[in-house]
Symmetry: C2
Subunit: 449 residues, 2 copies
């Protein structure tokens, strides 16, 4: 009997997150305060986000951080998520590779984002906040934070990138069902939004812009904290629950991955599936490959510059040492809204610089081609973001077919695409296109960073 | 530690379906051939559907039917589905009741429908069919059969009720991603469709009409079989996998349900969750209550007539002894498209007549009110159909609050509503309305049956 899915019992669920910063030989360079340009402190950072999240962000010594019991209790509603052996995909490809995916799409809100939304909302509430605000692209993060806010009794305001607000109206509805207030960004409700709309009246929004608006709202509203869905180290920390579970589940399957793949926007789901395995590369001499799958139209790792840059368009956030396309880079309107971000997280950037991981870029058409193949083979329609990870997994599996190797490939299915069917429609009708970025455009944005 | 979810290990999964027809004291009256008006035979029925499904339909002696290994193998991709203790909902209601739900929404296509699509497609393929055709309302069944056809290598053609085709374009896209051909019904591609459009040029479609079209296509196309997503006994049989799992999972939770609830269109998900428990009422003297939750606008059980009626608008199907609103009844355009069917399955109709189960009707607004409450409490957005089951569960839980009883309530969450957000939008904006049916309208349709 071929076993297809692996779960963990409640008492096998991880009770700690893994903090790779403690084990990194080269620590990331410090983030700098946007005001003083000096290394930022927990005190400064906690003006914006919860103190606990700020402490985690700057924790370089504790490899293991306890998951608070109220968060664990909520995790038990949907975790462990299944580790699935993709027999259907293997057969469709005729590959000797063993392909596994971690199915984060079965979380209540349809993606991995809830893993960090829950602790962030919990910490804010515990520290006395009444309101929480954030940005969202495709809406996965916004949905997750809206629900987590409801769980812990916070009011939630979300700035959604305008193009996604219009492309994916259902995600807005999901946030509203959970009681959140949703504003398309750039909006006239913040100074950052007004400034951008004055310069570019038809601005379709970007994560960088929406972050500016949310940060401004948090800094100018009493008892209001900001929460971010990716990029920052504490978000990656929370997402390690994915890889920690996968590690135990792979053990049940009697295998260990040769290649681990995640799609890449700011880094949260990639980090989540990768870091627990990467720790064995760092500490135990394992040789697993880690591949970040990013869109060709927003190639911060493969073609960006390592430099200090802001996380948002209006330069409100700390300066971060990261691979970036420039905080004024305006990504094309691809359907993978969650990957339309100019920079890579601080930790991932350092790991990439140190050669501990790789990156690959995927065109929009290639991503949907892979998504369609996966849908037919496995019956699950992947989010446009997740299609990028699948595309790289398919490439690696095809390579195994050529060489005859039975490599073990693990990728993260970060979310489902049921709210993104308009994108599949366009792909099926042949009206979807690729977007490339010229070297000149990249240089224009990163040249003076 | 409060356990929230209960799963079964692969070796605990049921390997047989439960056929309640064998245990019923009063067997259902025979279905009649539409041509001869005599009890239909397996030979006659298998001109339309697979022979194996036809045999199951008329099997009144075997209480247990083996699930074929290739179907079991596919079940293992998504089954067992979780049994969830709804602590969040209990808390929101302040009820002493213990509320559980079986979460069928985590199936690859988002609903319970795959449980019957897989065996039906498998049987058709095994018996030499190359094509399969069906109707679909909201699209849950169409998505499931499209995927199951892909799995077993059949071409699939789906007639989708026109109002749903327009209301829920994403479901059409899902079917197309799985390679199915989707036609809005009534269409000009069949005689049945043409006849209806000639009489009513703006006909928005109904399940009864779409069935006529699919049946006509199957009967006039070589190597093409028809598959139905509800109503018939073999569909209910396949869906008993839900209740059989739930029974074992409830045992793990150390409880047994006092009340079992399912929403009710033709009966498949209600039967699936109920029959395995009902067997203990029939055989072991248990006193569990079973409640079918139907929409106020399509009240076949609470206000229909028990009579012989056709399953489709054009009277192509066998005559079935059932509670019906008349096969020409045109249900209002409620968002719970899967419940817009005029009749109840043969087995359920007999059980209801014999007092082994109850029925309750739910208004559209009440259903969405319950759905919203559930979304906020549990983080899962239920399908409009499933909202009806939730509404009845909420009512029963509130009754427990009044009486102080800790009853154990189990309902089936038949699917998620992520592709139905337009309906939630309307509810939130206050533009959704109720639809009632006048006694005259019912009498007009069932009067001369």
């Amino acid at each position: 009997m071929k076993q297809k899915r692996y779960f963990l019992a409640d008492n096998e669920l991880p009770t700690q997150w893994y903090n790779i910063q403690a084990d990194m030989k080269n620590k990331p360079q410090p983030m700098l305060s946007p005001k003083t340009k000096k290394p930022i402190t927990v005190d400064e950072l906690s003006q914006l986000i919860s103190r606990e999240a700020a402490s985690q962000e700057l924790n370089f010594s504790d490899a293991w951080i306890d998951i608070p019991e109220p968060v664990l209790e909520m995790y038990r509603y949907y975790r462990s998520t299944p580790l699935v052996r993709a027999y259907g995909l293997e057969e469709a490809l005729g590959t000797p590779a063993h392909i596994y995916f971690k199915n984060e799409s079965v979380s209540p809100v349809g993606s991995h984002k809830l893993n960090s939304a829950l602790p962030q909302a919990y910490y804010c509430k515990k520290e006395g906040a009444t309101n929480i605000t954030t940005e969202t692209g495709a809406g996965q993060w916004g949905c997750a934070l809206s629900y987590a806010s409801k769980v812990f009794g916070l009011e939630c305001a979300v700035y959604q990138v305008k193009i996604s607000y219009n492309q994916k109206p259902y995600r807005r509805s999901v946030m509203q069902v959970f009681g959140a207030q949703v504003t398309p960004s750039p909006s006239m409700s913040t100074r950052a939004g007004k400034d951008i709309l004055t310069l570019y009246p038809n601005h379709q929004g970007s994560l960088g812009t929406a972050i500016s608006e949310a940060v401004e709202l948090a800094l100018t509203t009493p008892n209001c904290k900001y929460a971010l869905g990716s990029v920052m180290s504490h978000v990656s920390l929370h997402q390690t629950i994915i890889g920690l579970e996968a590690e135990k589940q792979m053990e049940k399957a009697g295998e260990y991955p040769d290649i681990v793949i995640g799609c890449f926007g700011g880094g949260s789901n990639f980090s989540g599936i990768s870091f627990p395995f990467m720790r064995h590369n760092i500490l135990d001499g394992k040789k697993t490959r880690f591949i970040a799958a990013e869109p060709e139209s927003c190639p911060k790792l493969t073609r960006g510059k390592f430099c200090y840059d802001y996380g948002d368009e209006s330069a409100y956030t700390p300066l971060m040492p990261m691979f970036s396309l420039g905080h004024n880079f305006r990504p094309a309107n691809i359907h993978a809204g969650g990957l339309r971000y100019h920079g890579a997280g601080v930790v991932v950037s350092q790991l990439y610089k140190d050669g501990l991981m790789e990156a690959a870029d995927v065109s929009q058409l290639q991503s949907f081609e892979a998504g369609l193949l996966f849908s037919k083979a496995e019956g699950i329609i992947p989010a446009p973001e997740s299609c990028h990870a699948i595309a790289v997994a398919v490439e690696e599996a095809k390579r195994c077919k050529e060489t005859g190797e039975s490599k073990v490939i693990l990728f993260n299915l970060s979310g489902h695409g049921l709210v993104d069917m308009a994108a599949y429609d366009q792909y099926l009708s042949g009206s979807l296109t690729n977007y490339t970025v010229s070297p000149e455009e990249i240089e224009k944005n990163v040249g003076n960073l």
